[in-house]
Amino acid sequence: MALSRDQIAMRVAKEFRDGNYVNLGIGIPTLAANYVPEGIDVMLQSENGLLGMGRYPTEAEVDADMINAGKETVTAITGASIFDSAESFAMIRGGHVDFTVLGAFEVDVNGNIASWMIPGKLVKGMGGAMDLVAGAKNIIVTMTHADKRGNSKLLQECSLPLTGVNCITSIITDLAVLEVKDGAFHLLERAPGVSVDEIREKTAGKLVVEGDVPEMQLD
């Protein structure tokens, strides 16, 4: 069975180590914050200028001056720091953030990613995505393995305008966990009940499968 959005987030959260600084993009990545394993603490970085992002506020806590990168009202944890956007992106671009998790339209076997622009549709902008993929120590791309019409999002070469080049090493989809290296997708784990054949069929770019591919552990 393909994973739900929450299950993808759950699998993402298993990558985090205690003491990691993590930037989570909008959508599935944001959900990962709900599934950080017990005994592990991560500190969330919000690129508008907040390190140590907390939960959403109660009505009484709502403050127009306290928002996250998605422009949502938010709180800060004890021990947070708040700073300007140049400092925030100095952290990101200087490689100080341990994990960036973000969505994508396409990823290819060379670690290129397209996530911000579909020609012909209105282009709203890249926000901080190009900075995040250029700067983070580790990037995890989360997305469905194929689009709604069944077209693979894991390509030999991205067709859409890129967000960054040679930067993606780790992909977690509703079907699989893959590593990108040496010009290929390497299958590391399958979603429970999903066959290697199905993954092979839905992966347009070169796929390397070595030995038995274990199922993901989600609990």
């Binding site: 127009a64 001056d65 998605g70 422009k71 009202t73 956007s85 926000g127």
Partner: protein
């Protein structure tokens, strides 16, 4: 120290000297930490052909969005736009030009503009449409693109508190692009929630030293919230 008193008492004085076709750098992220009254003053003045450098362009009827109503903006330099219908319409009509700039590059361009650095190399945008036509240079085997800095004829900034000398502090995440914007204007105007006397702000805790600031005006703020999300138990 009257020569250092930056306080002006009218919005006309605050934006005096703004002319058609000038460049304005505006602080703020979304609707958070935006100089609401200064933006409204630009609307009132009717100045046109403006280039606005700001991470976003407000929403319909609020923030920088109001400058679209009379087509005052010629060009936006932003990382993320189109949160309002009027923007989209003018963009598709070709009445409005947009230079999309990665958020971190935009922040750094403003800082560099204020700091006398005309250009810097960054990995951000290499190999993407943002890097097209820009100089590429390798450092330690990795390619970087050359990005030029930004300065403006005016910078409009929203601070929490400022003293008469223009020393500013920002509140929470309303800080965002404001400190960099403040450094990059030929004329920097700061709209504040509270004007205090020199000495009331701790000298080591000032976000924007007064040397960057030309005018300070007491504002009143609606502080509209773009996306109010509550904790689960309150939903």
């Amino acid at each position: 120290m009257s020569g250092f008193d930056k306080v002006v008492t009218s919005y006309d004085d605050a934006m005096d000297g703004l002319k058609d076709n000038m460049t304005i750098i505006a602080g703020g992220f979304g609707l958070c930490g935006i100089p609401e009254g200064l933006i409204n003053q630009v609307k009132k003045m009717g100045t046109s052909g403006l280039t606005i450098v700001s991470n976003n362009c407000g929403v319909d009827g609020f923030g920088l969005g109001v400058l679209l109503e009379d087509k005052q903006i010629k060009k936006m330099v932003s990382s993320y736009v189109g949160e309002n219908a009027l923007f989209e319409k003018q963009l598709l009509n070709g009445e409005l030009e947009v230079e999309l700039t990665p958020q971190g590059t935009l922040a750094e361009k403003m800082r560099a503009g204020g700091a006398g650095i005309p250009a810097f190399f960054t990995a951000t945008g290499y190999g993407t449409p943002v890097g097209e036509g820009k100089e590429v240079k390798e450092f330690n085997g990795r390619p970087y693109i050359l990005e030029e800095s930004i300065t403006g004829d005016f910078a409009i900034v929203k601070a929490w508190k400022a003293d008469r000398y223009g020393n500013c502090v920002y509140r929470h995440t309303a800080q965002n692009f404001n400190p960099m914007a403040a450094t990059a204007g030929k004329i920097t105007v700061v709209e504040v929630e509270e004007i205090v006397e020199p000495g009331e702000l701790d000298p080591t805790q000032i976000h924007t030293p007064g040397i960057y600031v030309d005018r300070v005006i007491q504002g009143t703020f609606e502080k509209r919230i773009e996306r109010k999300v509550l904790a689960k138990e309150e939903r």
